[in-house]
């Protein structure tokens, strides 16, 4: 297995088509109270691409997201979005957590419309704007329901739609399906695959689930344990949209074995 060195050279080499790059994380470093958590991480996200950061729990994946979203400022390095420096600036990309974080006092349509309201659009117009998306996201008929009336899977769908309403070109998803049971989870994978086909969005995804990563991603970055650095980058060339059958295919299992080998060597 070849390890890709994590210097600028490799990312330049991989980013041949500069125009299509949405988001670039350049050599970020971050330590908390003297402990190095992120050691020189560089990665990029192309237009309409689904990229996963795969690593163990507590490997600093969420810190990377906090830096990209602007909630944290890296000690070194920068975040470039559409060619502009967005280091430490919030309000550009949307962020989704494992918890759905839907507001229990708002019905689904108002929850979903909240990002637009925050942007300053009035309640009525924002409702009108989100309404057509309920069909695409398979949430039709749930507009007037309250979050506690929905199943866990449906709540995550609503949270995903809310995330999409904030930023339609770059979404950061931090283990969004980690709290769901296995069956609901694979169902939501097929659903996500379908929905993403209809949208023009780039997704950066965090997970520790190898199968989830392979099924959903165009590319996977494998992260080392703390301090985090990218130790491998794998391109998943299984054609999209992928269906259920993909998960039992030979190619899928080859990827799985390959990744498992890398991770075994790590920890």
């Amino acid at each position: 297995m070849n390890f890709y060195p994590n210097d600028d050279k490799s990312s330049v080499k991989l980013n041949e088509d500069k125009n299509s790059i949405k988001l670039e994380v350049k050599n970020i470093k971050k330590s908390f109270e003297g402990i190095l958590v992120i050691e020189n991480v560089s990665l990029y996200l192309k237009n309409k691409e689904f990229v996963t950061i795969l690593g163990l729990s507590g490997s600093g994946k969420s810190t990377i997201f906090n830096i990209i979203s602007g909630l944290m400022i890296p000690d070194e390095g920068e975040i470039i979005i559409d060619g502009e420096d967005y280091t430490g600036k919030t309000g550009r990309v949307s962020y989704m957590y494992q918890k759905d974080l839907l507001l229990p006092w708002k019905n689904i349509i108002d929850n979903v419309a909240l990002p637009l309201v925050i942007k300053g659009i009035n309640k009525k117009d924002s409702r009108k704007e989100v309404e057509p998306y309920f069909e695409i996201f398979g949430l039709k008929g749930y507009e007037k329901k309250y979050p506690h009336q929905l199943s866990g899977g449906m709540r995550q769908r609503a949270a995903f739609l809310r995330t999409y309403m904030f930023s339609r070109d770059i979404m950061l998803l931090d283990e969004p399906f980690g709290g769901l049971d296995a069956i609901t989870r694979s169902r939501i994978h097929y659903w996500l695959m379908e929905v993403l086909e209809k949208l023009e969005t780039s997704v950066l995804f965090i997970t520790h689930d190898i199968e989830e990563a392979i099924f959903l991603s165009n590319r996977i970055y494998i992260l080392s344990d703390k301090p985090a650095k990218v130790i491998d980058e794998i391109i998943i060339d299984i054609p999209r949209p992928r269906t259920k059958d993909v998960t039992t295919s030979v190619r899928f299992n080859e990827f799985k074995k390959h990744i498992l080998n890398i991770m075994d060597r790590l920890y």
């Binding site: 906090n66 979203s69 602007g70 909630l71 919030t90 309000g91 990309v93 949307s94 962020y95 957590y97 918890k99 974080l101 507001l103 229990p104 006092w105 708002k106 019905n107 909240l114 990002p115 309201v117 925050i118 329901k145 309250y146 506690h148 009336q149 929905l150 199943s151 904030f166």
Partner: protein, 284 residues
């Protein structure tokens, strides 16, 4: 018993309407019966206590001016109710004005404490300290400062009530998930937006539990204020009848206070129900 029969009857009816759902209906009704029984237990116990009290007084070992029997109290209650009306309205007015002032003061304090960390550090310990001061000791001071009018009574009510309200307000705002606040921050939401859409609704939920406690205190606070002097009010009435050893009238006033407090408590639950539409709908 009648209630029990009613639920039985409705069970049969519903079962007939939807034969496939008989099990669900049966469970629902079994639940309702259980609730009714649970509620009646305390009622039955209370009635037993009253009967016991009645027996002890009728046996005659206790003179009426020391402890009147429940029956005497009941008869007196009906008799003096018209006289009590004015006193009742005065007390109710004091309680409600006191509560409204408490809500306003609590709201301002809670918002300030939530938005300015320094302010919270400075004020919160004083708030707790203020609760250790015996109100009964303060009330005479208020009368010296503000006379025998409504103001000292309203002040007592406010002092008693605002603490549970402000604490529940602040706790409600503190209880907001930090991830949710981060999410709002990542969306670049302004402080005002976060307050309006997140913190205020979150605080409202716990605010009501504080308000319900405060409401039951409010009548008591007003009565304590009135004990120490005044022209009208249930407390004033109680002091007067106590001086003439008409304890049956005294107990009648207590009944009025209990009923009034319970009605106010129910009123808050009702307002709460209408303020939180998301709680009305059943879970899936």
């Amino acid at each position: 018993m009648r209630k029990l029969q009613n639920t039985e009857g409705s069970k049969d009816r519903e079962a007939n309407e939807k034969p496939g759902n008989w099990k669900v209906n049966f469970n629902k009704n079994a639940n309702m019966i259980k609730q009714t029984v649970d509620k009646s237990i305390s009622m039955v116990f209370l009635i037993l206590l009253l009967i016991l009290w009645q027996i002890i007084s009728s046996v005659g070992s206790i003179p009426k001016y020391i402890l009147p029997s429940p029956l005497d109290v009941g008869i007196t209650f009906v008799k003096v109710l018209p006289d009590l009306k004015d006193h009742l309205l005065t007390t109710l007015w004091e309680a409600i004005v006191g509560i409204v002032i408490s809500i306003i003061v609590s709201f301002v304090l809670a918002v300030l404490m939530d938005s300015i960390a320094f302010f919270k550090k400075a004020i919160y310990p004083i708030l707790i300290l203020s609760q250790t001061i015996p109100i009964i000791a303060l009330a005479p001071l208020f009368i010296i400062w503000f006379g025998f009018g409504l103001i000292p009574k309203i002040l007592v009510v406010t002092l008693v009530c605002f603490f549970p309200i402000v604490v529940s307000f602040v706790d409600g705002m503190d209880s907001v998930d930090s991830d949710l606040l981060n999410l709002m921050k990542s969306m670049k939401a302004s402080k005002l937006m976060v307050f309006r859409h997140i913190k205020l609704p979150a605080a409202i939920v716990s605010f009501f539990s504080g308000l319900r406690i405060a409401m039951t205190y409010s009548v008591m606070g007003a009565v304590i204020g009135e004990w120490l002097g005044g022209e009208k009010g249930l407390g004033v009435y109680m002091m007067r009848v106590k001086h003439s050893y008409s304890l049956d009238k005294f107990f009648a006033a207590i009944i009025v206070i209990v009923v009034l407090s319970m009605l106010l408590f129910k009123l808050i639950s009702l307002i709460e129900y209408f303020c939180m539409p998301w709680k009305k709908v059943k879970a899936r």
